[in-house]
């Protein structure tokens, strides 16, 4: 409706959504950078994490293509978001991933081997090493968006106990249509919970483009309905994404409640290795999106500013290749669990009525070639 100009109507709410970008697609600063980003080592850390993740991602896809890994969801082109999350969260915070934020998981101590174990069909890929920040993080969540409202309970527990910890929960653009997501966003501000909702908007939910997901102008504005700040950030800009997340995390930690960040990115890969995006997505669109690659942008800045040399690049690529190779080998060398494992953490202790089933599985022997 048009804004009426009569005594029957009065404006009761209005809102604006801002978009943040600090690094343009050519790798040039768009504004003065926050203090942390002015330290070259900060940018190098983000860059290294993105490159290691991309080397891993490429290898994971090739493992799947050669029959050594199950279906895998690549994060190609979205590495800046994971890197920014990993860089912005404190060790004691809780990260609740969807499934394309491997860079954040690596930063928090998840070994690459664990991600391979997970997509290779082994629950031990969700155990994560004790003593790392990841040990109190949540595992990947495959059902779309249903993990998002778990953040409400986790953050409520922090608040109840007076802990200054923050939950960062990520999901995709598709998840923003789900009731679970909306119930969480609608309720978080009721208790001023320390949550950052991150919508990783990669424009495609399998074959459904963003504009068919909702008629809303932005996904960030879903925050407004929940009474919290909502904003967009250029998700292929590691500086802006890290900064916007850091501010949202700081607000949450200071008792100012939840925020929602919509990070705009692009899924350069198929949805998963079981998908063929050529069926529904124009190739020209993908080619154009390559021009906005987050790794290319960060590298352009670092090189132009003299903080990254060809030798640095060669060393990083060699180190990343060696790291990934070692992790792949560790994954391939991991023997399957003993058969009883499917029972052993079903409950804290196995109910006596299930003991015979466990014994039957043990008696059938280890998984052989015919399984």
């Amino acid at each position: 409706m048009n804004a009426p100009n009569d005594t029957a109507h009065r404006k009761v709410a209005s809102f604006e959504i801002f978009h943040t970008q600090y690094l343009d697609p050519e790798g040039r600063p768009t504004a003065e950078w926050p203090v942390w980003a002015q330290k070259p080592e900060s940018l190098r850390e983000l860059y290294r994490l993105m490159v290691r993740t991309r080397v891993f991602d490429k290898k994971a896809v090739s493992l799947q293509r050669t029959g050594q890994l199950g279906t895998y969801a690549a994060c190609l082109g979205q590495e800046a978001i994971g890197a920014a999350i990993g860089h912005a969260l404190a060790a004691d915070d809780v990260f609740m991933p969807a499934y394309r934020e491997y860079a954040a998981q690596f930063a928090r101590g998840v070994p690459m081997k664990d991600v391979l174990l997970y997509w290779g069909g082994d629950e031990r890929g969700m155990v994560y090493p004790e003593g790392t920040p990841a040990y109190h993080d949540f595992p990947l969540s495959v059902p779309i968006g249903t993990h998002v409202p778990h953040s409400i309970g986790v953050a409520y527990a922090f608040k109840l106990r007076g802990e200054k910890r923050v939950v960062l929960v990520s999901c995709g653009d598709g998840a923003s249509s789900k009731g679970d997501f909306l119930e969480a966003v609608s309720s978080a501000k009721v208790w001023d919970l320390p949550i950052v909702f991150l919508v990783n908007n990669n424009q495609w939910a399998i074959s459904l483009p963003r504009q068919k997901q909702t008629g809303a102008q932005t996904l960030a504005q879903k925050a407004i309905a929940g009474g919290m700040p909502g904003e967009q950030v250029d998700g292929n800009d590691a500086v802006a994404t890290r900064e916007v997340l850091s501010q949202a995390i700081a607000r949450a930690r200071n008792g100012e409640g939840p925020s929602l960040v919509e990070a705009i990115t692009y899924r350069l890969h198929d949805h998963t290795t079981a998908d063929d995006a050529r069926r529904y997505r124009p190739d020209e669109e993908v080619q154009a999106a390559w021009g906005n690659c987050p790794i290319k942008r960060t590298k352009a800045y670092l090189q132009r500013s003299g903080h990254w040399s060809d030798a640095d690049e060669q060393r990083l690529l060699a180190e990343a290749a060696a790291e990934v190779e070692a992790q792949v080998q560790a994954f391939l060398d991991t023997e399957p669990e003993p058969p009883a494992a499917i029972f052993d953490t079903l409950y804290e202790s196995l109910p006596k009525s299930l003991v015979w089933q466990r014994e039957e599985v043990i008696a059938a022997g280890p998984i052989g070639e015919d399984h």
Partner: protein
């Protein structure tokens, strides 16, 4: 009201016993929190949470927005942080939005992280019909959950058992669906000792011994089953009565032991017939107890229809007469010597 040591014995209705258990456990363990719709000042639509807000404050007594998925999901999040949430869903029909959360997440976090995480939570809800409630308020959901691995499903049938089983459910390290018999909330009172002692889960209770037939039931149907046993006793038939109490995991041993003695069995459930938990019990008896049986195991159940609205709900809910009818069929096939 009698005093025994430090604990008081009170004459309580089932809903009051639930309330007592919540008070008792929140007092004993500060990690216990309750959450749900209208559970604070209002004390819950059935008054299960009356007095908790005043006693424990709004930090631990959480009025949630009107969002059942959120209630279940929030309980999951709380439980992963070491709290012991007890979530209330107002009516059984509104449990369905929780199924996704319970099945895809609550049951799985321990298993998928190989024990790194866990979900020690309870979701309480009234279950079944018989109180002339509106549409979607009278469904029986125990089998929906009992089929799911990694869960416990508990259906108390008396005030004392509700008290002891709820304490056990809250203390259990894994997720428990606690389905309370709606039509028994205020049906009768019973002496309940507030001693903080949990009853065992995963255990059927033989609450009446008999040698002629085993009557198996749970939840609200236990009330009809007990009355059926009384009437049979007047006819000289000694029925053994078993309250399944924990449907999942099922203590089939106790039922098999009874049937080995009686040779006859009738299972009474309120929920729809096909694939109900009575079918699971009957299948267990067929597999492991067939040679003890003198007659087929008979099931008494609701029909495979939508739960009717209030005017017709009595057609659906099996009462004493339908239990006795199946018992008589059994004795026609295998008369008492």
């Amino acid at each position: 009201m009698a005093e025994s040591g430090k604990t008081a014995t009170k004459n309580l209705a089932l809903i009051e016993a639930i309330n007592l258990a919540l008070h008792s456990e929140m007092g004993r363990d500060e990690d216990v929190v309750v959450l749900g719709e209208d559970i604070g000042k209002n004390g819950g639509v059935f008054r299960a949470t009356v007095g908790l807000l005043d006693a424990y404050g709004e930090g631990r007594v959480i009025d949630t927005p009107l969002a059942e998925t959120l209630v279940a999901a929030m309980a999951i999040g709380l439980s992963t942080q070491g709290l012991r949430p007890v979530a209330e869903i107002q009516f059984s029909g509104f449990l369905y939005p929780c199924v996704d959360q319970v099945v895809n997440h609550a049951t799985r976090y321990r298993n998928r992280t190989r024990g790194r995480m866990s979900c020690p939570l309870v979701i309480r809800a009234p279950n079944g019909g018989g109180i002339h409630a509106p549409e979607h308020h009278s469904e029986s959901l125990e089998t929906t959950f009992a089929h799911m691995p990694g869960l416990r499903v508990v259906c108390p049938s008396s005030p004392a058992r509700a008290y002891g089983l709820l304490l056990a459910a809250i203390r259990d390290p894994d997720p428990v669906i606690f389905l309370e018999p709606t039509r028994c909330y205020r049906l009768f009172k019973q002496s309940v000792e507030d001693n903080g002692e949990a009853l065992p889960l995963d255990t059927c209770f033989v609450e009446r011994e008999g040698s002629d037939i085993t009557l198996v039931s749970w939840g609200a149907m236990m009330h009809d089953t007990r009355r059926a046993a009384d009437l049979l006793a007047e006819e000289g038939i000694a029925a053994e009565v078993i309250d399944v109490a924990t449907l999942k995991p099922l203590d089939l041993e106790t039922i098999l032991t009874s049937v080995a003695k009686t040779g006859r069995c009738v299972i009474a459930q309120e929920s729809a017939r096909a694939g109900g938990w009575g079918s699971e019990i009957a299948a267990g008896l067929a597999e492991h107890g067939l040679l003890s049986l003198f007659a087929p195991v008979m099931r008494v159940s609701g029909y495979d229809t939508i739960m009717p609205l209030a005017r017709m709900e009595k057609l659906f809910i099996p009462g004493v007469e339908r239990i006795l009818k199946e018992v008589r069929k059994v004795f026609e096939i295998a008369p008492k010597n």
